[in-house]
Symmetry: C2
Subunit: 768 residues, 2 copies
Amino acid sequence: MNQDYIIPNEWSIIEKGFNPDTVKASESLFSIGNGAMGQRANFEESYSGPTFQGSYIAGVYYPDKTRVGWWKNGYPEYFAKVLNAPNWIGINVTINDEKLDLHTCLEVNNFKRELNMKEGWLSRSFDATLQNGIKVNVYTQRFLSLEFDEVGAIKYSVTLVNGDATVEFSPYIDGGITNEDTNWDDQFWDILDVTQKEQQSFLQARTMKTNFCACTYMESLVFLDGKQQEISGVEKKSSNYASCSYKKGIKQGQTFAIHKFGGYVVDRNHDKLELVNVAKNVLKKATDIGFDGLLELQKKSWSRIWETADITIKGDVKAQQGIRFNIFQLNQTYLGTDARLNIGPKGFTGEKYGGSTYWDTEAYCIPFYMATKDQKVARKLLEYRYHHLDKAIENAEKLGFKNGAALYPMVTMNGEECHNEWEITFEEIHRNGAIAFAIYNYCRYTNDYNYIPEKGLEVLIGIAKFWHQRATYSTKKGKYVILGVTGPNEYENNVNNNWYTNYIARWCINYAIENIKRVAQEFNTDYQRISEKTTIDVNELEKWKEVADNMYFPYSEEHNVFLQQDGFLDKDLITVADLPQESRPINQHWSWDRILRSPFIKQADVLQGFYFFEDKFSEEDLERHFNFYEPFTVHESSLSPCVHSVQAAKLGKMDQAYRFYLRTSRLDLDDYNHEVHEGLHITSMAGTWMSIVEGFGGMRIIDGKLSFEPRIPKQWEAYSFKINFRNQILKINVTQNKTNFELINGDKISILVNGASVLVTPNNLVTV
Amino acid sequence: MNQDYIIPNEWSIIEKGFNPDTVKASESLFSIGNGAMGQRANFEESYSGPTFQGSYIAGVYYPDKTRVGWWKNGYPEYFAKVLNAPNWIGINVTINDEKLDLHTCLEVNNFKRELNMKEGWLSRSFDATLQNGIKVNVYTQRFLSLEFDEVGAIKYSVTLVNGDATVEFSPYIDGGITNEDTNWDDQFWDILDVTQKEQQSFLQARTMKTNFCACTYMESLVFLDGKQQEISGVEKKSSNYASCSYKKGIKQGQTFAIHKFGGYVVDRNHDKLELVNVAKNVLKKATDIGFDGLLELQKKSWSRIWETADITIKGDVKAQQGIRFNIFQLNQTYLGTDARLNIGPKGFTGEKYGGSTYWDTEAYCIPFYMATKDQKVARKLLEYRYHHLDKAIENAEKLGFKNGAALYPMVTMNGEECHNEWEITFEEIHRNGAIAFAIYNYCRYTNDYNYIPEKGLEVLIGIAKFWHQRATYSTKKGKYVILGVTGPNEYENNVNNNWYTNYIARWCINYAIENIKRVAQEFNTDYQRISEKTTIDVNELEKWKEVADNMYFPYSEEHNVFLQQDGFLDKDLITVADLPQESRPINQHWSWDRILRSPFIKQADVLQGFYFFEDKFSEEDLERHFNFYEPFTVHESSLSPCVHSVQAAKLGKMDQAYRFYLRTSRLDLDDYNHEVHEGLHITSMAGTWMSIVEGFGGMRIIDGKLSFEPRIPKQWEAYSFKINFRNQILKINVTQNKTNFELINGDKISILVNGASVLVTPNNLVTV
């Protein structure tokens, strides 16, 4: 743990006291989003201290040209960069002509920030003494509307504490922004036009190269002691900036407030030529409803989300805060309403991990969205990859594969690979496995088998072809080997026979064959018709099978475990316990070669395979492998502790499971990996949900039925969660000595509890 | 082979006929340099077709900021970039106001380029018909003076063929240049001042970040039919450009000519504030001596170089041209006069391989410079690394090593690492071995053992410490292993136990211990005094020895060969013979992962070890390893064929040896690797010299004596070379049935020929 300043609270993230050193961390932690846009919790008024400005529009990116020392054939031409979009939240505030700036104020007291997760808003309040001696009390509140996802609203009010003064609000929109990760303050937006009319401002801008057009807009209303004022704002504009100032002399004790409405409308959703008109309509709606009306709608929207998604924990406020923070951020990032979007690892909270979509979605996020939303959302996420199949085939061709073999990109915005480090782009090929696994996982959970003949099978075929071609035969071993890969543990590069990769490769081939046959049989379809994008013939299947049946798996007789890769035991096998605290995280202290030759594991690798394919291994197998690998695991990927938490719970190692749970759920709140200032780890938050539902709750799907083996950490009195399973909603409440099952929505459901069949019907609390 | 347009000639590189497609290749091949500056063979007059402009100043570079997807701890902040310097060769030529431009002329005939290697100049002649119908005959000649290394001289003459016309020469200097390898046409020079006075022009510029100041200058004289004209030039300048135009109406058959003198003076050699004055003095000297006088001096300078360095080959013009081209380019690049400089892999012929110094210098270039120049030159090259020892220790510290361990950079300009690909920077650590080996090689050749107590030992100690710390103990193998390296064969990354690396690591440790003991004994020095930059104690030596004595070497019983690295035999062992021609070079056709998992070898790796440590292995060992590895070797590094050539000759495989010789000597002339347009492969040219002297000549140093085992390819009548051995110069002439030895300079020398002792005295041709 690296920080401990967030006040524990069941429903809110709270910071008290102003500390310039935590500004960047808090900008990440208090981020808000609505699936279509999002922003870091930057101050509205100007702030001259260290800050990381960020406002992002879903699906809007820039292709940064690949720059490497030595070009490698097959590199993508560009690396997608998440773009900081024009600022619409800014409100310059002056009191008697002095700019309000918390970095230069004489004194700041009673500073409080709150991110109210139940209702979906961010607030801030403080008392400040300016250099001119004037004291003010400030309260701000802001949210991005879920109901109207192009609208954001801000209330900003200033109360004079020690005398009269002139207060001026200058709300603005600003296109003169840049990315923090740029080296040379490059501009990525061409500003096309700035217009102002009747107190409304519009800034039209186009991203360079990708040509996304966005209209950033704003309109403001002002109030004195709650009463709307008819002050005509003074408009100002430049080539990339527009402001509109409202000035008023007010008396001690009076409150001058501004309600600012702003946001983006984008040509991804509207005709490019109509953007200003669309923005005007949006503004009309927003100002008609008003700040308070929009806020009420916001509360209702969030209430609907929490209805199914909430997890309660009794007796452990920090744990409760952690899980709600995770669920809240996931819903701020992706709501499943736009099939072109996906779940970026940093959501709308930072610039890192440039691209939008990683294997995180398939490996970690799909279970969360399947169980807490309508199953169409998960289907949409699968379809996202289906739509990218052509590009995945193209990508594989660039690497020398043929005949319709598909390699999905490691990082993508539009289906094209947009990451350019060879050990990742070319070698972290296990991602292909997760995409196939997600199809299996979806069908297992939803029983929507139709997805496979409709769309899934083509993806499975492309992936199976890839694995078949990627394996090579080792005469020495008399087996098929997969050489030169990076496994889920990215602290190993270009290794041979990564067990996880070989295992999922074999599984993919077998699963594709199984489904080709099933679809041919059940849907009376010949092989040619099955696949429009790739062709297969029966002989090919035989060849696939030859590879799958003779795949090599590295194994240690001595330790009786599968080895993460060839040669793992040649390492100097020091454990995490031997690592001095000052060396951690090792990725911030050790050079890459040192990390690579160490035995330290960034994230579950062999154990990730045991997580996906748990039913293929005995509990003894799992325990042996867990005991072998856990001591080497540094969990420096956010995606790691959740898997270990689920497995520790299964093995009855509840203390460990609880520790891992805290680590995953409070990874960002407590900043375990010393990097929260860069943004939040969104995709791994779905892992936190897994830790509770699959770990403590022991939820699995067994033969088409929900199954539970509930456990509870000794630190908790009780916890509860809900599961949307095939359109029935089941609520599970676990206490230290019993578990209640309640069917919220549905007719009846037969489940397994600790292996025994239990029937749950509506209005009938079943206690086990 | 990729091209075949260079006319075979013993002393010149000649191109006939104008072909826009070979302009970039010829710009590389006809490059000129004088150790202090160099330039691609760009046309003086303007050319609107595809061209790669380049003029470079020794030691002047720019630190390009490292940009990578995911930052890795220990990366250097920058990547050194060779900078294109202001253009001083430009002469715009207009005939009746039409610009002469070979790309737009109606006709170009009798185009001929010649790089005269014997005398060190470049010429070009052609007949051109302009769009206005005027026909001209043009002759240009240019060189960079060896005598005055800040001066370049150009003669440019235009003869009217079909009528009278006005001819205008506008010689210029231009700071508005950029690098071809830049993405965004970034400028790397700040232009400080442009001044013109009395027909002289000066452009002062400073490199960004590194703040090198250079004054580019010019002055011109004009001639009509050989008679100097008193035409006052019309001066023009802008913020980064200066020209001075000379215009004259001339008659059919008359020749209007300009002699332009220009170049750079740099604050690496002069007071920054005096640069213009220095340039004026240089210009005074140059114009006093005049073009023809400077050319005479140039011929004399080159004649002195060839006196010792020349190699003759009879009966094979292409082979003769090849070796002279190699010797010529090496001398254009590095003359051993400036201890701060080194030998860049592309010399002054292109931008690639950003930095200046690689292990190429120690592994390939030192033997050439030792044998063809005074041995002080080789000592200077060793001292270059000695001066960088502190930086090498710093570099090792960044990677977690301590106690004075030194890791020399992979690429450097000033001792700091300036390459930023982890598999190279952090893992291609064998470079450290070559630096130690060069010290051994130097002492063996020159018998100047004093270098070791004076300077070499500190370097050896730093390197031995590094290897000791870098090896780890494998409990499984019961041996010390070196994990995660890139060997000389860069088509393998992050491999374990690269045989070459492990071997040279052991050798370095043993050699350091041997010399610590010898120096302590012979120079009566205690351990502390030996090393000022690092400290050692006796216990440490024991620990080093423990590692050296128990180093692991991968070995195949089946094939009875050392394996390039762990797991080599798991590959699909297809050979180069199985590779379709259209896949080659594989680095231009295969993605990196495919290259890595293939068995293909970029350059000698195990065989490089056999080359360095030939005396540790039997001829049978060598033959077995050569036969095993050669079939997998694609020789896509310029540094590869020479080693195979030397070894093939030793093994009596003369056909192969000859083929490799042609490949190394004509690598650029015939463009084997499809990349000559980017520049020449300078450092590997020293390998060509090795192929003859060590390969065919069989030269070795055995027990302090020169030893020869001469062989001759059946394609040659005879060949000869000279060797400067400990200040005596021996000439060796080999024909199909005998070898003559002649002592050119020295008292007497006892040598070994095919194992037998032979005494050579002056004026006494010894025939064997």
